[in-house]
């Protein structure tokens, strides 16, 4: 692990929702998925994933059940609920708008003002 990027508040939730939306996954799998897709740019301290998962479950956005992992181990799998799917859409829309706006601001030159 070389680079550490501090995650924006609330971003972890969005990442988890997105990762799970690609298919039910257990905790470790979610971490791997985020790291793979971000090409190891994002580093999440592994244990901190779980309070976030429980918070999302408490909010009814994801649901969990025990199952068997790819290497035949017992693992708890998380999947999106309908509410979670709606929330993900909302968050994505918001995120895109925000990043667009931020990109605009950052790309500004003295002439634009």
């Amino acid at each position: 692990v070389t680079t550490t990027t501090e995650l924006l508040q609330g971003t972890l939730d969005l990442l988890i929702l997105k990762a799970i939306s690609l298919g039910p996954q257990h905790g470790y799998g979610i971490l791997l998925r985020i790291q793979q897709v971000s090409r190891d740019k994002l580093h999440i301290q592994q244990g901190s994933l779980y309070p976030a998962l429980y918070r999302l479950e408490h909010q009814g956005l994801i649901a969990s059940e025990w199952g068997e992992s790819e290497n035949k181990r017992r693992a708890k799998f998380y999947r999106l609920t309908a509410a979670g799917r709606r929330r993900l859409q909302d968050e994505l829309r918001y995120w895109h708008r925000l990043s667009e706006a931020i990109a605009l601001v950052l790309a500004a030159t003295p002439e634009d003002v």
């Binding site: 905790g27 244990g47 901190s48 909010q59 181990r73 509410a83």
Partner: protein, 915 residues
């Protein structure tokens, strides 16, 4: 739905916390394994891989903490810690804890017990379908239409009149008549007399209670001349018919006391469950008789009705009232609300009518226990305040270590809540005992002939149920909040650096102490005031009850047994019954332990008034067509009745063996009648006419006045005649209830019952004894309600006073202890032991006096609500108020004398050095 998920997750987190934690650990273990495997696959040695996985995962304790918060369990953790801490604090101060819990248990227990009754009697609807729609028709008779002044009574109607009323209004959907009934059922092994009622079929329909067995009355049962039918109560069915379902269809031979035609055969068509009339006196029901069409004297009875759906009580009352006024041709009102007084006809909800006699008393009791709880709260608040000041250092340390004031305040409230809930638990246990006491106090003989309904209606429906427990929990929590709030507020004034300094804890002296104890002093004044109000009320009721219980009855109630007999009616016409009574009495006379035996048409306290013509000699011998106003009570008695009852002969003589039929007729009159008819003369030897015939009677003696209709009612004029001399032409020697037998004994009156039963059996094996009671029981029965009020309110007053005394003691002990240094200086400067005692006592006298004055002022305002519950006593009876004030002042002074003496016996040197 997200809310639902959240609640579900929270609840499962709460309930299944242990499982959740295990689940979490397993999940994390799987994670660590997977990571370690991945690392090992990348070439790391197995042992290092596992370690590395752990490092990457981070501190599991921290994640656990966050996980709990994520599930909304943070405050549960706090609460658990607070409660654990509270219990630890309690164990550290067992004396304090015990006193607080006991105080709260008493306060909450009293409230729970009374609320149990209020709930069952006043709040719960009657156990019927649409119980709120059931009403009774009541008439306010104006003074102009009545010989006994304005009064209120149920409207009586015949079936025909009720039919007319029903036809003219749509405001009521059902209407029926109900009246008392007595029947004698013969033909079985033992003749049985039952008390019950005649009900129109509509009453069963409007209540909507399903019979336990068989069916209820329907319109067909109301037809004149139809087959007799009877419905039994659950109690009667179990007691007289062995609870056999086969009773349905059985035919009973019964004589209806109010329809003395021939004994009629009634078939049993149903049995009603206990819920039909909980605690009710009715043992059976027969259909209300319609009477013969066209004939004048149709039977009448009070009206019970059910409002039509959607019709308000007021509009129904106005409509029904107007129709009734038209039907009856009332002169004084057209049924509309007149400017003066209430409307003539009213509809009253059945429940209100049933509970009306006890409602004011229940409200008084509710207020009284409310005061008891407030006093308990004051005591607890004072105790908690004292304890909080003792714990100032602890709080200061916690504040200094960074605890928020809110957090520490929450801790304090949790502590007092925990105490209050424990107190509530104790209170619930006490309430069970309280309800038992109440039931015992309110239990009376259910006898219609005494005219006393149950001392307490609906008491059978009383029980500690969910509503009661909810009430108890609510007041416990409120109490906890109330008692915890004051110290929590006090805490907000605590300066952390100040309190931390050792010296600050002992800076209580002089002005500071006074200011600090002022709040506690005021609280104690308030609680003395409340206790005084209760003492005044309890004192008044006890005083009133003592007067009632010691009133001169005019007879001696001790060692007198009374009973009645049920005999097959056709075998015993009046004359035969008298022979039977004479035979029985002469047999009873020789039973060991019996001093005398007699029988009479009436007993004292039997609530049936029977006036007799009574005229002095110079008047016309022919009786006027109607009995004049205030005709005296006519008492037909057997020879020894006066000696059995212990009614004293004031002048002349009583009845003797010679006063037989055929001998000169003699009459005894009571003192009231003597005063009224023969003022300033000797009535003995005077000739009078009594009864319907024109043969004169000679007054042989004057007897003592008897309180006939109740201990609280002045004696009325009475005359006594011997059965043997009463004209045989008078067909009714006995009432429909038959004679009352009375036996005076030398032994416990109840112990001769077997001998009495045997004597009766010898004369007629079919005879059944009923209404067996000692005269003392009848008297106690009559005053059961005032006794219950006096006992309860007296108990609550004593409780309140006791708590207030504890409060006085507590605050004086605190103040005196706080003044130790000052007292030490005073004594070092030469003050004597007595001076110091006086010094402390002066303060307590001031507090007590202020409280008593406050309480008396409150009593002046509040005791007027007791007016209806007092006998021969004004609600401001000065003697009672003076006595309770002085008594309380004396005990309060005594309570503060203990701390005063302790303060004075301190060694001045030690007192000076201790600070």
């Amino acid at each position: 739905m997200r809310l639902l998920a959240r609640v579900r997750s929270f609840l499962s987190a709460l309930v299944l916390q242990r499982r959740l934690e295990r689940d979490m650990e397993q999940e994390w273990e799987a994670h660590l394994e997977a990571r370690a495997e991945a690392l090992a696959a990348a070439g790391m040695p197995r042992a290092d891989a596992r370690r590395q996985a752990g490092i990457e995962f981070g501190d599991p304790l921290r994640w656990k903490e966050q996980a709990r918060e994520a599930r909304g369990l943070g405050w549960i953790q706090d609460l658990r810690a607070d409660v654990q801490y509270a219990f630890r604090q309690m164990r550290r101060a067992p004396g304090f804890t015990g006193v607080v819990i006991a105080t709260l248990a008493l306060g909450i227990g009293a409230n729970t017990a009374i609320f149990t009754v209020v709930h069952a009697v006043l709040l719960k609807p009657l156990p019927y379908e649409d119980a709120d729609l059931l009403v009774r028709l009541v008439e306010n008779v104006p003074a102009a239409d009545s010989t006994t002044g304005a009064r209120r009574r149920g409207v009586s109607m015949s079936v025909a009149e009720l039919h007319e009323l029903r036809g003219r209004t749509g405001a009521i959907s059902h209407a029926g008549l109900a009246s008392l009934s007595f029947v004698v059922i013969s033909g079985g092994e033992e003749t049985v007399r039952l008390e019950g009622a005649r009900y129109s079929p509509a009453i069963f329909q409007m209540r909507g209670v399903r019979p336990l067995l068989g069916r209820v009355f329907d319109a067909g049962d109301e037809v004149p001349g139809g087959d007799g039918v009877i419905i039994l109560s659950h109690v009667a069915w179990r007691r007289y018919f062995g609870g056999e379902p086969a009773v349905l269809g059985r035919t009973l031979t019964l004589e209806d006391a109010f329809a003395r035609d021939a004994p009629r055969r009634h078939s049993v068509i149903g049995v009603m469950p206990q819920t039909f009339e909980p605690g009710g006196q009715n043992q059976f029901w027969i259909p209300f008789p319609p009477g013969v069409p066209g004939a004048g004297g149709d039977p009448r009875g009070p009206v019970v009705a059910r409002l039509a759906d959607g019709v308000s009580l007021q509009s129904a009352a106005a409509e029904v009232g107007a129709i009734l006024s038209q039907m009856r041709g009332d002169e004084h009102t057209d049924g509309a609300v007149t400017s003066s007084g209430p409307p003539r006809y009213e509809l009253v909800r059945e429940k209100d009518e049933i509970v009306a006699p006890v409602k004011p008393a229940l409200l008084v009791l509710m207020v009284a226990v409310g005061f008891v709880l407030l006093i308990a709260c004051v005591n607890v608040t004072n105790l908690v305040l004292a304890r909080t000041s003792a714990r100032r250092r602890e709080f200061a340390v916690r504040l200094a270590l960074g605890a928020g004031r809110g957090r520490v305040g929450r801790q304090l409230v949790t502590e007092s809540m925990t105490l209050a809930l424990l107190g509530g638990l104790g209170g619930t246990v006490l309430a069970f005992a309280g309800v038992r006491l109440l039931r015992a106090l309110a239990t009376t003989l259910p006898r219609m002939d005494l005219g006393v309904q149950l001392a307490f209606p609906r008491l059978d429906e009383t029980g500690i149920d969910l509503a009661v427990l909810a009430f108890t929990s609510a007041i416990s929590l409120m109490t906890g909040l109330l008692c915890g709030l004051a110290p929590a507020i006090r805490l907000s004034g605590l300066d952390r650096s100040d309190a931390l300094r050792e010296g600050a804890a002992t800076a209580d002296s002089g002005v500071g102490l006074f200011r600090r104890s002022r709040m506690r002093g005021l609280l104690v004044v308030a609680e003395i005031g409340m206790a005084m109000m209760l003492l005044a009320a309890g004192g008044l009721l006890l005083h009133s009850f003592a007067r009632l219980a010691t009133v001169d009855l005019g007879y001696e109630s001790a060692n007198v047994l009374t009973f009645q007999l049920a005999l097959p009616a056709e075998a015993y016409p009046n004359a035969r019954l008298r022979t039977f009574a004479e035979d029985l009495v002469s047999r009873l006379r020789v039973v060991p332990g019996v001093r005398a035996a007699a029988y009479a048409r009436q007993l004292p306290l039997v609530a049936i008034k029977e006036s007799g013509w009574f005229r002095r000699m110079p008047d016309l011998p022919d009786p006027p067509p109607r009995q004049p106003e205030g005709a005296p009570d006519a008492r037909l008695v057997s020879r020894d009745y006066l000696s059995v009852m212990g009614i004293g002969v004031v002048a002349g003589r009583g009845f003797s063996e010679n006063d037989r039929a055929g001998q000169p007729r003699v009459l005894l009159i009571n003192e009231t009648l003597a005063r009224r008819e023969f003022p300033g003369q000797n009535p003995v030897g005077q000739q009078v006419y009594a009864g319907r015939d024109s043969v004169p009677w000679e007054i042989a003696g004057v007897v003592a006045d008897v309180r006939q209709f109740g201990l609280d009612q002045e004696p009325e004029a009475q005359f006594f005649a011997d059965f043997r001399q009463w004209p045989a032409a008078d067909p009714v020697l006995f009432t429909f209830l038959g004679p009352y037998y009375t036996v005076r004994t030398d032994v416990g009156p109840m112990s001769i019952i077997p001998a009495v039963r045997a004597g009766v059996r010898e004369l007629d094996a079919r005879a059944g004894l009923y209404n067996i009671a000692t005269m003392e029981q009848l008297v106690a029965n009559r005053i059961a309600r005032p006794r219950m009020y006096a006992v309860l309110l007296g108990l609550f007053a004593a409780l309140a006073a006791g708590l207030a005394l504890v409060g006085v003691y507590g605050v004086m002990a605190y103040v005196a202890a706080g003044r130790t240094r000052e007292i030490g200086i005073r004594m070092a400067l030469g003050a004597q032991h007595a001076d110091v005692v006086r010094l402390v006592l002066r303060q307590s006298v001031a507090i007590t006096a202020a409280g008593i004055v406050l309480g008396l002022a409150g009593a002046v305002v509040l005791t007027r609500y007791l007016e209806g519950m007092l006998f021969g006593l004004s609600p401001l009876d000065p003697t009672t108020l003076l006595v309770v004030s002085l008594a309380f002042a004396a005990v309060a002074t005594l309570a503060s004398y203990v701390p005063a003496r302790r303060a004075a016996s301190v060694d001045p040197l030690l007192a000076l050095r201790c600070e």
